[in-house]
């Protein structure tokens, strides 16, 4: 896989030169690979939201560079609007940005700004609604009469309709009930796989991230703590715990068992893998 985006030594300082000065991102470097789902996790205030707003040029780096398909996105500041169409960003609680009279018009806002109209626009709106699991009967409703979860999906569809090369979501499941979370995550995963799209998802739920990500970026105090596959990251369970981050339940159980002398591989982080590993041990006449 090749990187579609590259972040190089990125730093961001808020309110520079005032008593409120704050370094929210410090010297962060990482790659986003084409077609992957990259999960970003970290405590509240670790700089996740600040970091991702750099990726589509909403924030300008205090230091460092961001490359999209090999080109610095700030090379030509006049072109930044184009970058925003190519890197779609869904903010946290995106349902608060709906403003149009119908769902159709709201989802069409982005593609319309790109200059699309007519049949192509309508097609994009319909496909985006399909991608988030809402049928065509929603199109003529007012966004304000929908439930919270439905509004959230409509807002996400509004970004998907721009057909971004990279889709970025800031805590897309925040404030949803468990069922709504699960559904939304499945939709996003299938969108990524079906459209061969690149997705970056911020979350503070370790188990969500563990189950759906191809790679994980862990942020702590404005810096990158780890970056790698779930196996690599969760094999450092203890390190994550000392950093005060929740680890998936299965990883914690595996760690506790290892400490009591049960030989288990370090890469276990889903219940399924744990059960399988234990079953294999039992079958082989292990400690259990």
């Amino acid at each position: 896989m090749e990187p579609i985006m590259r972040v190089e030594n990125l730093s961001h300082v808020y309110s520079a030169g005032t008593p409120f000065q704050k370094g929210a991102v410090r010297n962060v470097s990482f790659d986003i690979m084409r077609g992957e789902l990259l999960g970003v996790i970290g405590h509240t205030g670790s700089g996740k939201s600040t970091l991702i707003q750099h990726l589509n040029g909403l924030l300008k780096p205090s230091e460092g560079h961001i490359y999209l398909a090999g080109k610095d996105i700030w090379e030509n500041p006049k072109e930044i609007r184009n970058v925003r169409f190519r890197v779609g960003l869904v903010f946290q609680y995106p349902e608060y940005q709906l403003f149009e009279e119908t769902v159709r018009a709201d989802v069409a806002f982005g593609p319309k700004n790109m200059g699309l109209s007519g049949e192509e626009l309508e097609q994009r709106v319909r496909h985006a609604m399909e991608d988030v699991g809402l049928d065509a009967s929603y199109l003529d409703k007012s966004p304000f009469e929908l439930s919270g979860g439905e509004k959230r999906r409509v807002a996400i569809a509004g970004v998907l309709a721009m057909h971004p090369e990279v889709l970025i979501l800031d805590e897309p499941t925040a404030g949803l009930d468990p069922e709504g979370r699960e559904n939304l995550l499945r939709c996003l995963k299938s969108y990524q796989q079906k459209r061969k799209s690149t997705v970056l998802m911020v979350s503070h739920s370790m188990s969500e991230i563990a189950r759906f990500s191809d790679r994980i970026l862990v942020m702590k105090d404005a810096r990158v703590l780890m970056c790698g596959t779930p196996e690599e990251v969760f094999s450092r369970t203890e390190e994550l715990e000392t950093a005060g981050l929740n680890t998936p339940k299965a990883a914690r159980i595996a760690l506790a068992l290892r400490k009591r002398g049960v030989e288990l591989p370090e890469s276990i982080f889903t219940m399924e893998a744990l059960v399988n590993a234990l079953a294999a041990k039992k079958g082989g006449g292990g400690v259990c």
């Binding site: 309110s15 030169g17 005032t18 008593p19 707003q53 589509n56 909403l58 609007r81 925003r84 169409f85 779609g88 960003l89 869904v90 903010f91 995106p94 608060y96 940005q97 709906l98 403003f99 806002f109 982005g110 700004n113 790109m114 304000f144 509004g158 970004v159 721009m162």
Partner: protein, 267 residues
Amino acid sequence: MLKDITLGQFFPGNTLAHRLDPRTKLMVTVLYIVALFCAKSFVSYGVMALWLVTAVQVSKVGYKALVKGLKPVWFIIVFTAVLNLIYIKGTPLVTIWKFTIYREAVETAVFMILRIAMLIMGTFLLTYTTSPIRLTDGLETLLSPLKKLHAPVHELAMMMAIALRFIPTLIEETDKIMSAQKARGADFESGGLLQRAKALIPILVPLFISAFRRADELATAMECRCYSGGEGRTKLHVLRFAAKDYLVLALAAVLTAAVIVLGRMGL
């Protein structure tokens, strides 16, 4: 960014300026403004500048933040100064092209700039060093004699406190909504006047909805805690004058008197 608007912003701190009773600071600010409008010469402006500089030094707010507060009004300041330069006649100083600049005009323009800039910096110093809660508390207490005339002093103070409290929240919210719509390609910077006004709809609609939602939630929360207006309501922190308050007030009164006397003497 909208965030950089410093209007009514409070910089927490623990200096003498922060610890003074808000009523003291309000009264000192009023005295300062009166004195500023009585200042008529370089000597009296010098006294005013000394007053302002001392206050800034004590408050540790920093000149950068103060000067930033002037940003929204630079245009007005320059505009009035230029008008003064052109229209006031007296002893000719220099002639540039068709315009003759007079000595009196230069003087008036300089005073005008000083007056507006110092007025704004002085009042900003008040809001920089006083939290909105304490500011309204002070205002309510100062104005409480008006309650005898059935003026809704408490209600006005409460409205002001709530408004001040929500200004930063709404600014933050506006910033967020703007960013979110920019992420969908909204363009607020190009096009004619009509197009620009139209571009505001995606910001204003969500902003109004959220403001109404917040107002509704706040009203419910206040009712749940049995808020029913000022009648019989006591305060957690009762304002009390300390020795430093009397001292500062006396000093401000002396300075104001000095500036007025200087004005009478034609200085």
